[in-house]
C-alpha cells in the first residue's frame, strides 16, 4: 500500500475526557486541523523536475545584474525592475554558507531522522545559498563536521520525488577521487555503513572505582524511577536494551515501558551500544553536570545507531525528573 500523507499511527481516536485541576473539572476533546492538497509546484516545476528526472540542479540568472539565484525562487529579478531571468544548470559542488545547525530533538514528522543537519550551500557560480540536508558518511553527525566554507558535493537520492530532500550534501574530503569526479553522484555510490566502534582505553584503578560508583548511582536511579511519575512518563511506551561499554567494564540499561533496570555486565542482546573510556561521564550525567546528548555531540560518548538519540533524550531527562518528584 502506498505511503499515506498522514501515517495512520499519527491519528488519534475520536474521544473526549475530563481533566481535573484545582478541584474543577474541564472537558477536552481529541481534534485535528487537516487539509489535503494537490499542490502545484508552478514556476518551481522545472527545478524540482530537474532534481527528480534529470538529476540536475537549476539556478536562475538575471541578464541585467548577472545574479545567479539557487534555488530559482523567483522568475523575475526583484533588483532589476522584475526583468525576466533565465535558467542555468549549476555545478554540483560548492561551499557551506555557514556552519549548519544539527537537530537532536525533532517533532513526529522528522523524529526518525535525528540527528540531522540542515545547511545552505553556495554552489559554484551562485550568489545565494541552496538549503539542503547535510550528512557525513563517517559515523555520528556532530556540529564539527561542517563549518563555513567547507567544500561539499551534492548527492542525489536513489529514490526521488521532486522534493528538497531529493538531494543532500556531504563533505568533499570524505569522497575519493572517483566520487568527486562523478556527476551526478548518487546515494548508492556512497558507503554509509555503521562507523567502527572506538577502541576503549585501559581499566585503571581510578576508572574501576568510578565504574563501581556509576553502577551504584545508576541502580539508585532505577529504583527512584519506580517512585517518580515524571521519570516513568519519560520512559512510557519505550523498550530498549542498551549496552554501555567503559574502560572499566560494561553494564546494561533495560528500558521497559516506564521502568529502568540496571545490571552489571553485557546484555544478551542489544538495541544499541554506547561507549566511552571514562565512566566518570555517567557520574557527571547523574550529578547534573553534563548530559549524555552533549557528550555524544562533543565526541566523548559514541553510539552505534544515530537514530537512538531519541532514547538518549529519554535517559537525559531521568535525573531531573527524579529530583523534581522525590526532592
Amino acid at each position: 500500500m502506498a505511503e499515506k500523507v498522514i501515517p495512520d499511527h499519527f491519528i488519534p481516536p475520536v474521544a473526549s475526557e475530563i481533566v481535573e485541576r484545582d478541584g474543577e473539572s474541564y472537558l477536552q476533546t481529541n481534534e485535528s486541523m487537516f487539509t489535503f492538497y494537490k499542490r502545484t509546484k508552478g514556476e518551481f516545476s522545472k527545478y524540482f523536475l530537474g532534481l527528480r528526472d534529470e538529476l540536475k540542479i537549476y539556478g536562475i540568472r538575471c541578464p541585467r545584474c548577472s545574479t545567479v539565484r539557487v534555488p530559482p525562487f523567483a522568475l523575475l529579478c526583484p533588483d532589476c525592475d522584475f526583468v525576466e531571468m533565465e535558467y542555468v544548470e549549476m555545478a554540483d559542488r560548492g561551499v557551506m554558507n555557514s556552519t549548519p545547525p544539527i537537530t537532536y530533538f525533532a517533532h513526529s514528522l522528522f523524529q526518525s531522522w535525528v540527528p540531522f543537519g540542515r545547511g545552505r550551500v553556495i554552489l559554484e557560480g551562485a550568489d545565494t545559498a541552496l538549503p539542503v540536508h547535510v550528512y557525513t558518511t563517517k559515523g555520528v553527525l556532530t556540529p564539527f563536521v561542517f563549518d563555513k566554507s567547507t567544500p561539499v558535493k551534492i548527492v542525489f537520492r536513489d529514490e526521488r520525488l521532486g522534493k528538497p530532500t531529493d538531494i543532500f550534501a556531504v563533505p568533499l574530503r570524505e569522497l575519493d577521487a572517483d566520487q568527486r569526479a562523478r556527476t551526478p553522484l548518487m546515494e548508492s555510490d556512497l558507503d554509509f555503513s555503521t562507523s567502527e566502534e572506538p577502541t576503549i582505553g585501559d581499566a585503571t584503578e581510578t576508572r574501576q572505582e568510578t565504574y563501581d560508583r556509576a553502577l551504584a548511582m545508576l541502580q539508585e536511579l532505577a529504583a527512584n524511577v519506580e517512585e517518580s511519575p515524571r521519570a516513568q512518563a519519560n520512559l512510557a511506551g519505550w523498550q530498549r536494551t542498551i549496552e554501555v561499554k567503559t574502560a572499566a567494564g560494561s553494564l546494561s540499561l533495560a528500558i521497559d515501558d516506564g521502568s529502568l533496570t540496571v545490571t552489571e555486565g553485557s546484555p544478551d542482546r542489544t538495541d544499541f551500544v554506547m561507549a566511552c573510556d571514562d565512566p566518570q561521564l555517567l557520574v557527571r550525567w547523574m550529578s547534573f553536570k553534563d548530559a549524555l546528548t552533549n557528550a555524544i555531540v562533543t565526541g566523548e560518548l559514541w553510539i552505534s545507531v544515530n537514530k537512538e538519540f531519541t532514547t538518549v533524550f529519554k535517559l537525559d531527562r531521568l535525573p531531573r525528573s527524579v529530583r523534581r518528584d522525590l526532592a
Binding site: 545559498a129 552533549n294 555531540v297
Partner: protein
Amino acid sequence: MRRVGIVGAGITPCKSHWLERTYYGLSQMAVKTCLEDAAVSVKDVDAVIYGIYNDIFELSAIPEHPLQGIIGMTNKPGMRVTNGGATGAYAMLAAYTFIASGLYDTVLALGVERSTDCFDFESMTQTPEVIKTIGWSADTFFERELGWTASDSYAEVVLAYMDDHPEDLKPEISAKISEILCQQAKNNPFAQRRDEVVTAEMAMSSRYVVYPFKLLEMCVYSEGAGAILFASEEKAKAIAANTGQPIIWITGIGACNEHSVAGPDYTRHKYMGRIWSDHIASHKAYEMAGIKDPVNEIEIVELHDAFIKQLQITMGEMGFVPVGNTDALIEDEIMTPGGKILVNPSGGLTFGGHFVGGSNMFSCWSARREMIERELSRGLVHGTGSTVAQYGVAMTLERSG
C-alpha cells in the same frame, strides 16, 4: 505625526497550559485587567489590533473574529496582525500608527496565543506537536520538508555569527545570563517559571536541543494574553490625570524584515551571521527618538529572548555592546544585577513566558511596570521573529513626570 502614549497594561499569568480558559477567556482576562489599570471603560476604546501568530494553535483561520464581541468592541474597527514571533510588536506598531495618523484616539493592542492544546499522540506529550505546528511557518517549497524548526532556524544565525566571531558567545556567559534571568523572574508574579531554580552550572550542563542551544538557555512554550492601551496625547493626559500613573510615551519605533534567502550581501539577501532586522529596526527607532548613545541613554530593555545567545547578538545589534564582543554584557557588567542596563526584569521569554502573539505585550507590560515602579526614564521593547530572525521591531519609551 501625533504623540502616542501607553496608559494601561494587563497580562494573564503565563502558563505552560491553560486548562481553565480558552483563548476567548484569556483575552477577556487581559483586556479587563488592562482597562482597570487605565480606569477606562471599553466604551472609551476606539479600535483594537489583535496579535495572534498561528492559526493552527487556535484551530481557526480567522481566530480574532469571535474576540470582537467578547471583549466589548462590537461595531468598532478590529484588525489582526500576524508576523511570526514579532507578531505582538508589529501589532503594537499598528496600534501606534492608528493613533499617530490621527485616525483614532484610543487603541487597544491585544495579543493572545494558545500552543499546548497541540498534542502528539505518539509520544503522549505536547512539545513535539508544538514544534511541528511552528514548523508550518517555514518556506513551504524549499525548506519545511528539510525539517525546519524555529530552533534550528535561529541556531543557523547564531552558528553563522560564531563563524565570524569564534571568541564571542562563550558557553559560561550564556549560562550566566540564564541564571540572571531566572533570578529576575522571581520579581514577576505572572512568570511561568517563577518557582524554578536554574543556576549557571545547570544551564551549562543541560542538553543540547539544537546545537548550540541548550534546554535551559531557550524560551518556553506558553499560553496567555496581554493587552496594552495606547492613547493620543490629549487622551493620555486625561487618563493619566485620573489614574495618577505616569504616561509612557513612545518616542521612537522601527521595524525591518530581511530577505529570507541566504546570501553574502545583506542588502540583497539574508547575511546569516548578523541580525540586521534588529540593527535596522532599533536604529530607526533611535533616530526617531533622538537617541545617540543607547547604552548611556536607555536604562531598561525588555528584549525578545527566544534564545539566550540570540539575546546577546540582539544586544550587540542594538548598540549596547559591540557586535563580536557581546560577552561584554557579563564581562563588563552591563546587564549583571546593578549593572548599567536592566535587561528583561520580567525573566524574559526564557523564564517569564512566551505566548507568541502576545509575548511582546508581555515585554511591554514589564517595561512599563518597571519604568513606573523604579522611576526609570527611558526604555526599549523589542520583538524578533520569522525564519532566521528575519523580522525585527524596536520601540523606545520615555516616562512622563
